[in-house]
């Protein structure tokens, strides 16, 4: 462990704001990249389900 306490860990020796904002932004970008294909797939399957139902009712 490179830090003596948890507050010491959060402070990052006066660089806390830089380190945590860099990690926070990266985490958000990674989350966007995971969510985008999952949501797109769900949307596509819903569209397909709707299309199939329409075709069956005709």
């Amino acid at each position: 462990m490179s830090f003596t306490s948890f507050s010491d860990f959060l402070a990052m020796g006066h660089h806390g704001l830089y380190v945590w904002s860099a990690y926070g932004i990266s985490l958000v970008v990674l989350a966007i990249n995971v969510a985008a294909p999952i949501l797109a797939r769900r949307r596509y399957l819903q569209e397909e389900a709707r299309r199939l139902r329409r075709e069956r009712n005709q």
Binding site: S2, F9, H15, V19, Y23, L30, N33, A40, Y44, A49
Partner: protein, 258 residues
């Protein structure tokens, strides 16, 4: 000539959307688990356990995301160029799918490298941005990605779009050696490479091992989200083929049963 025709079948099988869909479905969970494990261990190790840098203090911990993102941004572009060559030469459908799906991920990774670099630059160099060779060539890489995405969406004919994007990807790859050697060719604020294949790292093992883990983790993450995007694109483009129809029906049936 006949024997050589037979020995190339595996290569064309590789380009078949159906074969890709089934093999990628089996690889996906392993890649995802590897990405989560490598990134978690690497980030926790890098943030909490690696010793601080004797000059930069704790701000150097940004390296554990900045360097992997920058490496991935460049490898992804090289992959686009390779996909471009494969698509132009062998007319493989899957090559264009890979190119179109990887470009947005590459753009995000370039953006992460630029933003984390700016945040690292402020306490280290005293400035968010300098018009230095490394930073400028990375910014050009971001614009190349934007150009590829825009080009792919602007041309409605799929085959023409694929050709145009392949050519742009191949021409743009000239920027990659410029990024790599920018720190050696020009006077720059940016430090040299952390990892080289020929020399031992200049930092102690407890500093570069977490970096190795997060770098591998970023590559596994890239593989995971790329396969997710490509699988959806295969379903959309091959919507008329019978195997996709039955695949969609099966998936819909499973979701309704839940």
């Amino acid at each position: 000539m006949k024997s050589s025709a037979i020995s190339w079948t595996w290569f064309h099988k590789l380009g078949s959307p159906k074969w890709f869909y089934s093999i990628s479905g089996r690889m996906l969970p392993w890649l995802a688990v590897a990405a989560v494990l490598l990134l978690t261990v690497g980030v926790v190790w890098g943030l909490a356990f690696a010793p601080q840098d004797y000059q930069q203090g704790n701000s150097f911990r940004i390296i554990y995301i900045h360097v992997p993102a920058a490496m991935l941004a460049q490898s992804c572009y090289v992959m686009l160029a390779v996909a471009g060559v494969v698509g132009l030469v062998w007319k493989m459908k899957i090559a264009d799918i890979a190119l179109q799906c990887a470009a947005p991920i590459g753009a995000w990774m370039t953006a992460v490298a630029l933003v984390t670099g700016a945040i690292w630059g402020k306490p280290t160099w005293g400035s968010w941005w300098v018009w230095d060779a490394r930073l400028t060539s990375m910014l050009i890489l971001l614009f190349l990605y934007f150009g590829l995405i825009a080009l792919g969406q602007a041309i409605s004919n799929r085959e023409s779009a694929a050709k145009a994007c392949a050519v742009l990807a191949i021409v743009g790859v000239i920027n990659i050696p410029i990024i790599k050697y920018s720190v050696e060719w020009w006077n720059t604020l940016h430090q040299g490479a952390t990892f080289t294949l020929t020399e031992k790292p200049a930092m102690p093992a407890e500093m570069w091992l977490p970096l190795l883990l997060t770098a591998l983790g970023f590559y596994c993450f890239f593989g995971t989200v790329l396969l997710m995007r490509m699988r959806l694109e295969v379903l959309k483009r091959e919507a008329r083929s019978s195997w996709v129809k039955s695949e969609v029906m099966n998936t819909l049936g499973r979701e309704l049963a839940r």
